[in-house]
């Protein structure tokens, strides 16, 4: 399946998707050393975002979250790409400064955790095992 959205940070990456149905705060929500989701109220708590295509509706929380994305990449624990339904400045600025391909305006209900997802500019394509 192919979907077109808006390119927020130009780039290409293919990886296994990790999907959260809830907004993510990178400050306090993700361990910057390991990429583990530590937010108590998260539906993907305990999972690791490192090397995954991270899919979630939008960002939330402190603006310091932008810097956490940079920290994650420096530690080799950042996501391969980010897909949002509707992006906001905290995650967008973080993706730009940390060089993480990012696209928004995507119907994220079409993507499931474990799908192989490719982000390329404004385009998202996905393959589902067994489908």
């Amino acid at each position: 399946m192919r979907m077109k959205g808006r390119e927020i940070k130009k780039g290409r990456a293919c990886a296994s998707a990790l999907v959260s149905e809830m907004p993510i705060s990178f400050l306090g929500g993700i361990d910057p050393k390991t990429g583990e989701v530590i937010a108590k109220d998260s539906d993907i708590r305990g999972q690791c975002i490192a090397g995954r295509v991270l899919v979630f509706p939008t960002g939330k929380g402190s603006t310091v979250g932008s810097y956490v994305l940079l920290r994650l990449m420096k530690n080799g624990a950042g996501p391969a790409a980010i897909i949002n339904a509707a992006s906001e400045p905290i995650v967008s600025v973080g993706a730009i400064i940390a060089d993480i391909p990012m696209v928004d305006g995507i119907d994220i209900s079409k993507i499931r955790t474990g799908d192989t997802v490719c982000v390329d500019g404004d385009t998202v394509s996905l393959e589902r095992e067994g489908a």
């Binding site: 808006r6 927020i8 940070k9 130009k10 910057p32 603006t63 310091v64 932008s66 810097y67 956490v68 940079l70 920290r71 420096k74 992006s87 906001e88 400045p89 905290i90 967008s92 600025v93 730009i96 400064i97």
Partner: protein, 400 residues
């Protein structure tokens, strides 16, 4: 929605990696907010300075721009840091924190930003004129610039203000546009609002109600500059107000009676705001004045009240380097510091690591300051006007 030819060239990397990243940030914000274009800015106020909030991740972010040779194109000033950059040792800030903080400030300085470290850039010469497009962060300064000065800015974050400074432009949406600057909620103030603390309490009460609307106030007596400062700072803390109007006092209502169709919300009393900002006991451990940073007028008033007295609890008046220097020239500094009170620059109680000092109750004349000291710094507060606070500084206890 296309970038201009010059903007596209920067976006494509023709002016180097730092400008490219800054343009990528502005282009993304433009998409997110649906801005038609980028507009040149005459002035920028950059927040994201206190190491307490930035941490190592934030330091890395600022260092990236410095390492890539970024330089600002617009006149840019800096928000407060977590320490007094000169007097941190005698004031009791830890060496480790202070070293890291000083590095962050010098990284900003290397980008061409004047390291003013004040939340009142309008007191030290960053004074855009009526109608100017600017990109300011620091919510109290944003409110002051939009409302008192009639300049035009959104509530920028640290990175978006920095990107605007490096490119010299900002996405044209929100408060840059006429259509978003008219009043959208109105308050008829029946309560007696006289002191700067009263204006802070009024802002605390109305900000929570207004959220991100544009309030229009009726019924306020002629206000001093410090009253505007306190009203706006409090509304930006309890709500997200970036612009407000005061009937016959603020400059940016060009339409006659344009708020008249709005239902007037009556403010009868400030009692609830005062009780929520007064959580502390009668024993005061610390007195904090100068949030937002004290003006020359306030320094003069404080000096007049304290003259010939002694303070019995630690008392800090936070201000800018510029205002401190003027106070020194006119004798206010000596009048204040000879009582044992300290005039502290570059920082404020909210962004400094005061929780490390272990104070139980802090007295302050700033509603914004009390609100954030309660929620971020875990201290209890006493809230009243400058004279009540100074009396508490002298006696060590709070009197109503």
């Amino acid at each position: 929605m296309m970038l201009t030819k010059d903007e596209q060239a920067i976006f494509d990397g023709e002016s180097g990696e730092a400008s490219q990243k800054a343009m990528e940030i502005l282009a993304a914000l433009r998409k997110i907010y649906g801005a038609e274009s980028l507009v040149p800015v005459s002035s920028v106020q950059v927040a994201g300075v206190s190491y307490k909030n930035l941490g190592e991740a934030g330091r890395d972010f600022i260092a990236w721009w410095s390492e890539h040779g970024a330089k600002v194109r617009s006149f840019s000033t800096l928000n407060p840091a977590g320490i007094d950059l000169k007097r941190w040792k005698q004031l009791g800030f830890s060496k480790d924190f202070s070293e890291r903080q000083k590095e962050v400030v010098s990284l900003y300085e290397s980008l061409g930003i004047v390291p003013t470290c004040t939340c009142t850039p309008y007191e030290i010469g960053n004074t855009p004129k009526f109608g100017d497009h600017i990109a300011w962060s620091e919510s109290s300064a944003v409110s002051f610039a939009n409302s008192y000065m009639g300049a035009r800015t959104n509530r920028e974050g640290g990175p978006s203000a920095l990107a605007a400074a490096i490119i010299g432009k900002t996405p044209c949406y929100g408060y840059h546009l006429d259509k978003n600057r008219g009043p959208s909620i109105s308050f008829d103030v029946k309560a007696d609002v006289a002191s700067e603390a009263d204006f802070g309490a009024l802002g605390f009460a109305t900000g929570a109600h207004a959220k991100d609307a544009v309030p229009l106030f009726y019924g306020l007596r002629p206000m001093r500059q410090t009253h505007f400062k306190q009203l706006g700072a409090a509304m930006a803390a309890s709500g997200a107000v970036a612009l407000y109007h005061v009937e016959k006092q603020t400059p940016d209502i060009r339409c006659r009676g344009c708020g008249e169709a709005l239902e007037k919300i009556c403010i009868e009393s400030l009692d609830d705001a005062y009780s929520r900002l007064n959580t502390g006991g009668d024993k005061v451990d610390f007195v904090s004045l100068g949030c937002p940073h004290a003006s020359l007028e306030e320094m003069r008033e404080i000096a007049g009240h304290l003259k010939g007295k002694r303070v019995s609890v630690p008392t800090w008046i936070t201000t800018s380097i510029g205002t401190r220097a003027l106070s020194d020239a006119y004798g206010y500094l000596k009048a204040i510091e000879s009582t044992g009170a300290r005039v502290v620059t570059d920082t404020c109680m909210v962004v400094s690591p005061i929780e490390e000092f272990g104070y139980g109750t802090v007295a302050a004349n700033s509603a914004k300051g009390c609100y954030y000291m309660q929620s971020w710094c875990g201290v209890e507060t006493r809230f009243g006007d400058v004279h009540q606070c100074l009396d508490a500084a002298i006696s060590g206890s709070w009197r109503k």
